[in-house]
Each structure stands twice: as C-alpha cells, then as structure tokens.
C-alpha cells in the first residue's frame, strides 16, 4: 500500500508546489502590467512641457503638471512638519518611557488609526479647517475654504501613527548597553535618549519617515476636500493647491484623451517617485534586512 500511497503523496506535493507558485506569479502580475502600461503610455508623454507648464483649460491639448508636482512637494513638506515631530517624539515615549499597560494601549490605538480609511481623515480636516475660519484671539489665521495647509495637515496627521510605530521599533533595536553606559557616566536620561539613542537609530528613523512620506505622497482621497486642487499656482498656503494624485484622478475620469495621456505621464512620475523612495530606503538599510528568510 505504501508504494502507491507514496506516489500519490509525491504527486500531491508537486501539484501544491505548482499551484502556490502560480499564485505567487499571479500576485506579481498586476505590478508588472501596471508598470508596463505606465511606461508605454506615460513615459512617452513626458516632455519638458510636462514639468514646466500649467494645465490647459478643459479640452485644450498640451500643458503640463508643473503646479501639481510642486504642490505635491509642498504638501509633503508640510506633512513632514506636522507629522514627524509628533510621530518621532511619540515613538520615543513608547520605546523609552511609559508602562507596559499604557504603551499597549497607545500601540493598539496607533494600529487602529493606521486602519482608518484615508477619506475619513479628509472629512475630519475638512470639518476642522475648511468649513469655518480658524481664528486665534479674534484674528483670522486660516480663512475658510480649501487650502494647502489643510492638505498638509491631513497628510501629516496620517503620518503620525506610522512614524510613531516605526520609530519605536527602530529605537528598540538599539542595544540596552548603550543606554546603560551613558547613564553610568552620569548623563541625564533625556540627553541619553536624545543624543545617543536617537542618534544611533537615526538612519532607521529617517527610513521610517521616508516610507511614511512615500505612502502619503500617493494619497488622493483625503486631498479631495482639503487641498482640493488648483489649475494654477497657489500663491499662499491658504489657497487650494494642486497635487499629483489629485490631478491624475481628475484627468483620468475626464473625457479628454489628452488629459488621459497626461494622467499616465503623471502616474509614471508619481510611481517613480514612490518606488524610488521605497527601493532607495531598502537598499540603504539592506544589512538590516539581510537575515530575513
């Protein structure tokens, strides 16, 4: 009985091996296809005008996404401003201070926040900044309406739980011996953390921040009712501003072929930016990942 049973078992083994391999291929296929189309449709539409010109009014061909490109970077800059200090400092608390009970709740809450749909974030900041004026002591700081600040804020808020968790993880990797050595030298705890522990983990923290930035760079939904988009330049941070994902979306669902062409081009540039950050970061920290199986 064993011999025939054995052949059957080997056969099953081989079939499963093939089937799971096929699934792995299936998983990789969309990425390959997306990239293929981005290159064939998008790359070919990239020209100097794309990077330097503003969008043309509806229906007219030509123009570019200069404002959207600049807008994306402006928004990311603000997001970093809002999100990084809070995230990193919060991560420091999680790693270096706090009790096990409290920290469990903070981490749990951060993980839940990470799961909140991005469009919900958009609604929240809309209600905060767009619906009414933001005033301090009777002086209007941010008038109502869509604005670049609102866009930057929403992306920054989304970054906070991400950066907090990655910062904590990275700080945990710093060997306890460093902290002990510094404390034994009589250096205050906060200086130990700020100057020694954080500096040791700096590369990892920066990595986490960059990955979070790459993630929010591609977000569209929350920008729909905060930054809103702009066919021209935003001259002040309190004006609506264009951003690449927004522009791609608007062009994609529009009826004009030329806009579709530009959407592909924009998507290509955006994907290159996002992937460049992801790959670059992985490349730079590759010794950290070398042991993974």
């Amino acid at each position: 009985m064993t011999v025939s049973n054995h052949r059957w078992r080997n056969f099953k083994n081989a079939v499963i091996q093939a089937a799971t391999f096929a699934c792995a291929v299936l998983v990789v296929t969309p990425l390959v296809l997306v990239f293929y189309h981005l290159v064939t449709q998008g790359f070919t539409s990239i020209n100097w005008a794309f990077f330097t010109q503003l969008p043309r009014p509806e229906g007219e061909a030509g123009g570019g996404m200069a404002n959207a490109i600049v807008g994306t970077f402006l928004l990311l800059g603000q997001a970093a401003l809002f999100g990084v200090p809070v995230g990193v400092l919060g991560g420091i608390y999680l790693s270096e201070y706090g009790g096990p009970h409290l920290n469990w709740w903070i981490r749990f809450a951060a993980d839940i926040l990470n799961g909140v749909p991005s469009i919900i974030w958009g609604i929240v900041v809309f209600a905060l900044l767009v619906v009414h004026n933001v005033s301090l002591f009777g002086h209007v700081l941010i008038p109502r309406g869509f604005s670049a600040i609102a866009g930057g804020l929403v992306l920054g808020l989304m970054m906070i739980p991400l950066v907090m968790r990655t910062t904590e993880e990275v700080l945990q990797l710093v060997p306890g011996g460093y902290r002990e050595a510094a404390l034994a030298l009589g250096i205050a705890k906060w200086k130990t953390i700020a100057q020694i522990v954080v500096r040791t983990a700096l590369k990892g923290i920066v990595t986490g921040v960059l990955l979070a930035l790459a993630r929010v760079a591609g977000e569209t939904a929350p920008l729909l009712f905060t930054a809103f988009g702009n066919l021209g330049w935003a001259h002040k941070l309190t004006e609506p501003i264009a951003a690449m994902p927004l522009q791609i979306f608007i062009y994609a669902i529009g009826p004009y072929d030329d806009q579709h062409r530009q959407a592909w081009a924009g998507a290509f540039v955006l994907l290159v930016l996002v992937l460049a950050i992801n790959i670059g970061v992985r490349f730079l920290t590759r010794d950290r990942f070398a042991r993974r199986s």
């Binding site: 608390y93 999680l94 903070i106 809309f126 790459a214």
Partner: protein, 322 residues
C-alpha cells in the same frame, strides 16, 4: 595638593537641571504619544458632529433606506453598505486563497534564491498608490474585463443571476477585483510573518514522521497558524472596506442594489469621494458624513478584531502595515 577629582572640581551642575530636563522631556514625549488618543477622539467627534443633522432627520431608517435623492433631500445608506460589503466580499474571495497560497510558497516551498526578489516585488506592489492602480483599472483592466472575461463568464455561468444582465465593464465585480489586487500584498506579508513564527520544532516533528513538504506545511504549520492567518484576513478586510480611489474609478458609481455582479455599484467611500464637493445644502453633506461614520464604525470594529487576533496569536509583534 591632591589631584583627585572631587565633586568640587567637576563643572558645577545643579541636580535640579537634570531633574527638570528629564521631566520635561518625558512629559513632552508623553504628550506627543497621547496625540494618538486625541486623534481618535477628534475623528469620532467631528464625524458625529457633522452627521448629527442627518441622524436627527433620518434616524435609524437611514441604514436600511435605499433612497438617494439629493434633489428632494432624501438619503439612505443601504445601497452603499451593500456595495461596500459586496465589493469587499468579492475582494476577499479572490485575494485570500491567492495570498495565503503565496505566503505558503514564500515561507515553505519556494527555492531560497527566489524568495527575496518575490518578497520585494510584493512589497513594491503594496506601495503603488490607489489612484495609479485605478488609472490602470479604467484604461486597461476594465476594457479587458468588458471584452474578454465578463462575456466568457456570462457564457459559462449566465444561468446564475450573478452573471446576468448588460456588461459595461465598470461593475461591482471590477471593483471587487481591483480591491483584491490592493489587499493581496498586505494579507500576504502578514501571513508570511505568521507562518515564519511557527516554531521549527513543529515542522521537524512532522518531517521526522516521514511527511512530504506539503504534508509538513499542512499538519505542522497551517493548523498551528490558523488563528493568526485569520487575523491577517480580517486585516485585509479592514483595508478593503476603506479602499476609495481605485474602487471609485472602476465600480460604476451607481447607487443601486442589483443581483448581477456586472451591474455598477457604489461604496460608502466612493460616494463620499465623488459627491462631497458637489453636495449642496448641509443636509446632503451631513448625510455623506453619516455615511462616513458608518464606514468608520465598521472599519474600526473590523480592525480591532484583526489586531486582537494577531496580538494574541503571534509572539513577535506584527509590524505596522501600510
């Protein structure tokens, strides 16, 4: 005369300095960490506040009403709840078997040289923004579905109400498929972590009994990891529920409840994305925010379940997922 350094020779430091610095830094970082809780409260509060007019107007009936009539200011959530649930269900049906099979392949069956490249590919797929996948969806996937897959499905299974009716391409099924593509990376990578955490001793026990590779996986790994894998699936579901852009671009955006998978649909996230800026009148906006509240509620519940499952299963903590 003595050259011994005493505390009088060392630079003067007041013990108060250290004390102050430590306390201040600790409070600062605690405050930043507590921002997390503040954000949760903020989200809940702002949504509840914005939704209140609509909640007041429509009550619980909102959840089961199929009206969506902005002109007459009659709103109901059912088509969107239906759309979100159905598209997410389709996404899970498609994504879960493929993801878990891939995770098994990557951890147990694949040749070693192939693992890292594949893992990297999958992580790159996770990084693709939703709007770009949506763009590809509109111009590449949907036409292909419309011209090839859907007609074939209708030919083979057209007797089922699921596959009856006109084929536009943009459809509930297209929405489900694109969400599947988006959640596959997260389910795969969390499942991989879960499978890797199964102790080697379990695998060895199975090998020592003379089991084949697949049998080892089945007996020692998969059954051990059941709970964690389920958590990974629920995490994927949470992600699926909140998917906005890619879905909006391929689902057809029609607030109807239809039996056919080829019919256009509408999800909670999509309707908010499409109509929020067009909403005239505060009741309209409030109704949309109430939809957001429903979405938030469902998503948070699902995520809490997933996190609890994952935290009580795996020893090493599961990384924050993007």
């Amino acid at each position: 005369m003595n050259a011994v350094a005493t505390s009088e020779n060392l630079p003067a430091t007041r013990s108060g300095d250290w004390h102050f610095g430590d306390r201040a830094f600790q409070w600062l970082t605690l405050a930043m960490a507590a921002v997390i809780f503040a954000l949760i409260v903020l989200i809940g509060w702002e949504l509840a506040r914005g939704a209140r007019p609509a909640m007041h107007q429509f009550g619980w009936g909102f959840l089961i009403s199929t009206d969506w009539d902005p002109v007459n200011e009659k709103f109901g959530a059912l088509p969107f709840i239906f759309g979100t649930l159905v598209s997410s269900a389709i996404a899970l049906l498609v994504a879960v078997p493929i993801s878990i099979a891939t995770a098994v392949y990557l951890t147990e069956l694949a040749p070693l040289w192939l693992r890292q490249p594949l893992i990297m590919f999958i992580e790159l797929l996770a990084a693709v923004p939703s709007v770009i996948l949506g763009l590809w969806g509109i111009f590449v996937m949907v036409p292909w579905l419309r011209d090839h897959l859907f007609p074939w499905l209708q030919k083979c299974f057209g007797f089922l109400p699921l596959f009856k009716g006109p084929i536009y391409g943009v459809s509930m099924l297209a929405g489900g498929i694109i969400v599947a593509i988006m959640i596959i990376p997260i389910i795969t990578s969390v499942s991989r972590e879960i499978l890797r955490s199964v102790p080697g001793l379990q695998r060895e026990a199975a090998y020592a009994l003379g089991a084949t590779r697949w049998e080892v996986t089945r007996i020692a790994v998969l059954s051990y990891a059941k709970k964690g894998l389920f958590g990974a699936v629920i995490l994927g579901l949470g992600r699926a529920l909140g998917e906005t852009m890619a879905v909006t671009m391929v689902i057809g955006n029609s607030p109807q409840i239809a039996a056919s998978l080829f019919a256009p649909g509408y999800t909670l996230a999509s309707v908010i994305a499409n109509e929020f800026n067009e909403a005239t009148g505060s009741l309209y906006t409030s109704a949309l925010i109430e939809l957001g509240l429903v979405l938030l509620g469902v998503t948070v519940l699902v995520n809490v379940a997933a996190q609890l499952l994952l935290k009580t299963f795996a020893g090493p903590s599961v990384k924050p997922q993007h």
